[in-house]
C-alpha cells in the first residue's frame, strides 16, 4: 500500500497533499467561473471590455509588460563599476548617481501608474457625475510631486557629495592612513 502511494507520488511528481491542495484551488476557481457564468466572461460587443480579457492581461501585466519597461529603464541608468571593498581603492569623493536617479523615478512612476486616470483625465464624465468636480488639478499635482522627488534626491546627492569631500580633505590634512569608512567596520552577523 505504501509502495503504491510512493509510486503514485512519483508519477504525479509531488506528494498527495500537493494534489489535494491544487485540485481544491482549481475546483474553487472553476466553481467561481460557473457561478459567474462563462457567458459573462465575454462581452460580445466590445471584445476588449471582457472580464476574461482583462484577467488574461492581468496575468501578464507585470511580467511581460511592466517588467520589460522598468528593467529597460533601469539598464539606461548610469552605473558605476563594482565598489571595491577597500576604501583606499575607491574613486575618491564620487558617489554613484544611480540610486539618486532611480528613487525619484520609481516614486514618480509608481504614482503615474496608480493614478493615471486622474492625471490623463480619463473617465471625466463619470468623475464629474460622482463628485461634481473635474480632474483638472491632477496632472499638475503629479508633475509637482515628481519635481519634488527629483529635487529632494538632488539635494541628498549634493549633501552627501559635500560630506564626502569634507571627509577626504580632513583625512588628507591629518595625513593619517585613510580613515575606515563605516562600510568596512566589522558587522554583527
Amino acid at each position: 500500500m505504501r509502495a503504491l502511494a510512493q509510486l503514485a507520488a512519483r508519477l504525479y511528481g509531488e506528494r498527495l497533499f500537493h494534489l489535494i491542495v491544487v485540485l481544491a484551488a482549481l475546483a474553487l476557481g472553476a466553481y467561481t467561473i460557473s457561478v459567474l457564468g462563462v457567458r459573462n466572461l465575454f462581452n460580445p460587443n466590445v471584445w476588449w471590455q471582457s472580464i476574461a480579457v482583462w484577467f488574461a492581461v492581468a496575468v501578464i501585466g507585470h511580467d511581460l509588460v511592466l517588467f520589460p519597461i522598468y528593467a529597460l529603464a533601469d539598464r539606461l541608468l548610469p552605473k558605476t563599476r563594482s565598489i571595491p571593498k577597500d576604501p583606499d581603492q575607491r574613486p575618491s569623493g564620487r558617489i554613484p548617481l544611480t540610486n539618486y536617479l532611480r528613487m525619484p523615478t520609481l516614486a514618480a512612476g509608481l504614482l503615474l501608474v496608480m493614478f493615471l486616470p486622474g492625471i490623463i483625465e480619463q473617465g471625466a464624465p463619470t468623475y464629474q457625475a460622482a463628485t461634481g468636480l473635474t480632474q483638472a488639478p491632477y496632472l499638475s499635482r503629479w508633475l509637482l510631486l515628481t519635481a519634488i522627488f527629483y529635487l529632494a534626491s538632488a539635494l541628498c546627492y549634493a549633501v552627501r557629495t559635500l560630506l564626502r569631500q569634507h571627509d577626504s580633505t580632513k583625512t588628507a590634512q591629518t595625513s593619517t592612513p585613510a580613515q575606515p569608512s563605516d562600510d568596512s567596520q566589522p558587522r554583527l552577523p
Partner: protein
C-alpha cells in the same frame, strides 16, 4: 555600465560574481535544506525530458542581473503579503455582507456559496463601515509596491526551463495564473473604480467580487504549498544581519533550487536593506497619499491624487458629494413646496410635507458617511429619527424598511434597511447638515443617515419609506 554585462546575455555563465570574495555577510552560507535536488521527471518522463531538451531559442540568452533576488528576499515580501492580503480579502467580503445580501441588494446578486455567512450588519460602532472600507481600500493601495516587488523577485521562475517536470508542476502553474492574475485584476479594477474610470466596461462589483474568489483560490493554494519554504528561507538569515549589511558587503544569496538567485549577477547597486527600504518607502508614500481620504480633517488635502482629497469649501454643505443632483436627474421643481414624504406600512399612507417633518422631534448627531470606495467624511446631521417615523406610519417595530428616492433610475435609488438600522436612535431622516438645510447635491429635501451603513445606501432625495413587517 557593469563590468560583467558585455551585451544582453553574452556573458559566460558560471563566471564568479564580482563580489563573492566578500564574506562578512555570514548568513550567506549555503542552506542544505534549500538545495533540493532538481531534474526528476514525473510521468510520462519521455514527455518532460523532451520538453526539457527543447527550450525555445533565445531563452538561455536571458541573464538575470540583480544580485538581490533570492529565496530570503522573496520570503520577506511573501510574509508581508501573507499578513496584509488576508485583511484586504476579509474586509472586502465583509463589505458584501454590509450591503445586505439578505435583501438582494448586495452586488453581484447571485454568488452561490461564495460569501461569508450572512448576518445583520451592526450599527455600532458608527465608524464600523468607515474602518472596514478605509482598511480595505487603504491597505489595498499601500500593498501595491509590495505586490510589484514580489512579482519582480520571482520573475526568473516565469522563464525557467522546463516550465514543468511533472503533472504536479503543470497544475501548480495554473494555480499561479489564478494567483498572479487574480491579485493584479483586483488591484487594477479597484484602482480604476475609486477614480471613477470605467474604461473596462464590465460591472465593477461583479468583476471585483468574482475576481477575488479566483485570487483566494490561488492564494490559499500558494500558502499551503510554499509556507514551509518561506519559513525555511526566512530562517536562512536574520533580518538584523540584513539591516546591518551595507552595499559594499552585499552578496547574492547562495544558489537555490528554484533559480531565483542569479548565477551570474551584476555587482549590487543597492544593499538588501536598501531594497527593503525602497519597497517600504513606496508603501509609505502611497499611505501618505491615501490616508487623508478616510481620516478627513486636515489630512484630507494630503490625498493629492485621489478624488476624495479635494476640498469643496467651508460652508455647511461643502463636503464630499457622491453623485450630483444633475447626474441623478433630480428636477429641483419636485423638491420644492410640492414635495411630500410618504410613509407606508400602517393601515393608511401618511403624507408629510417638509414643515410637518420639521415640527416632529428633531435630533442632532455626528456621524460618518463612508463609501465602498474607501473615503469617508464625518458631519453633524439634524433630522427626525427613523424610529419616530415608523411609529408615525403605524408600524413601530418594523422588520425592514424600503427607502425610495426621487431619483428615477440608477441602482441606488432605493435601499432596504434592517430592523437594527431603523431603530438605532442615531438613524435619521436628515433635513439639515452642520446647521444648514441640506443642499440639493446632498439630498434636499431629506436624506437618510444611518450609522455604519454603506454610504450609497444613505438614500438622498427621499420620497417614501415603507416600513415592513419582516
Amino acid at each position: 555600465m557593469t563590468p560583467s554585462s558585455g551585451g544582453q546575455g553574452a556573458a559566460p555563465r558560471g563566471q564568479p560574481t564580482p563580489s563573492t570574495a566578500a564574506t562578512t555577510d555570514r548568513a550567506c552560507e549555503a542552506d542544505p535544506a534549500t538545495a533540493a535536488p532538481v531534474g526528476r521527471y514525473g510521468f510520462p518522463a519521455v514527455l518532460w525530458r523532451a520538453l526539457d531538451n527543447h527550450p525555445p531559442p533565445g531563452l538561455s540568452r536571458i541573464r538575470w542581473r540583480s544580485p538581490l533576488r533570492g529565496p530570503w528576499l522573496t520570503s520577506v515580501l511573501g510574509a508581508t503579503l501573507l499578513v496584509v492580503l488576508p485583511i484586504v480579502v476579509m474586509t472586502g467580503l465583509l463589505s458584501y455582507i454590509a450591503y445586505g445580501p439578505r435583501f438582494g441588494q448586495a452586488i453581484p446578486f447571485d454568488v452561490g456559496r461564495l460569501k461569508l455567512p450572512t448576518f445583520d450588519w451592526p450599527t455600532r460602532p458608527s465608524w464600523l463601515y468607515r474602518l472596514n472600507q478605509g482598511v480595505h481600500v487603504g491597505l489595498g493601495l499601500v500593498v501595491i509596491p509590495v505586490v510589484l516587488a514580489k512579482l519582480w523577485s520571482v520573475i526568473p521562475r516565469l522563464f525557467a526551463w522546463p516550465p514543468a517536470r511533472s503533472v504536479a508542476q503543470v497544475l501548480e502553474r495554473v494555480t499561479l495564473l489564478m494567483l498572479v492574475g487574480g491579485i493584479l485584476f483586483e488591484i487594477v479594477t479597484g484602482v480604476l473604480n475609486i477614480q471613477y474610470d470605467y474604461v473596462f466596461g464590465f460591472s465593477f462589483y461583479t468583476a471585483h467580487y468574482f475576481g477575488a474568489w479566483v485570487f483566494i483560490a490561488g492564494f490559499v493554494c500558494h500558502i499551503c504549498l510554499k509556507l514551509p519554504k518561506m519559513v525555511r528561507s526566512l530562517r536562512s538569515r536574520s533580518m538584523r544581519s540584513v539591516l546591518h549589511t551595507s552595499l559594499a558587503d552585499t552578496v547574492p544569496e547562495p544558489p537555490d533550487a528554484d533559480g531565483l538567485v542569479a548565477p551570474n549577477a551584476d555587482a549590487p547597486t543597492l544593499s538588501r536593506r536598501g531594497a527593503l527600504a525602497v519597497v517600504g518607502g513606496g508603501a509609505l508614500l502611497v499611505a501618505v497619499l491615501t490616508a487623508g481620504q478616510t481620516l478627513g480633517g486636515f489630512t484630507r488635502g494630503a490625498a493629492l491624487l485621489l478624488p476624495r482629497g479635494r476640498s469643496y469649501g467651508k460652508a455647511p454643505n461643502d463636503f464630499q458629494i457622491n453623485r450630483t443632483a444633475i447626474a441623478a436627474g433630480i428636477d429641483p421643481a419636485v423638491t420644492g413646496t410640492g414635495w411630500r414624504l410618504r410613509l407606508l406600512g400602517g393601515s393608511n399612507a401618511v403624507m408629510l410635507d417638509r414643515a410637518a417633518l420639521q415640527a416632529l422631534p428633531r435630533h442632532t448627531v455626528e456621524l460618518p458617511i463612508a463609501c465602498v470606495e474607501g473615503w469617508s467624511t464625518t458631519q453633524t446631521w439634524t433630522g427626525v429619527r427613523l424610529a419616530d417615523l415608523a411609529a408615525a406610519a403605524g408600524r413601530p417595530n418594523p422588520g425592514s424598511a424600503i427607502v425610495s428616492s426621487l431619483e428615477r433610475f440608477g441602482a441606488f435609488n432605493h435601499a432596504i434597511l434592517q430592523n437594527n438600522q431603523i431603530l438605532n436612535p442615531d438613524s435619521l431622516l436628515a433635513l439639515q447638515v452642520n446647521g444648514a438645510d441640506l443642499s440639493l447635491d446632498h439630498g434636499y429635501p431629506a436624506r437618510l443617515i444611518v450609522p455604519a451603513l454603506p454610504g450609497v445606501h444613505n438614500t438622498k432625495w427621499v420620497s417614501s419609506i415603507e416600513f415592513r413587517e419582516t
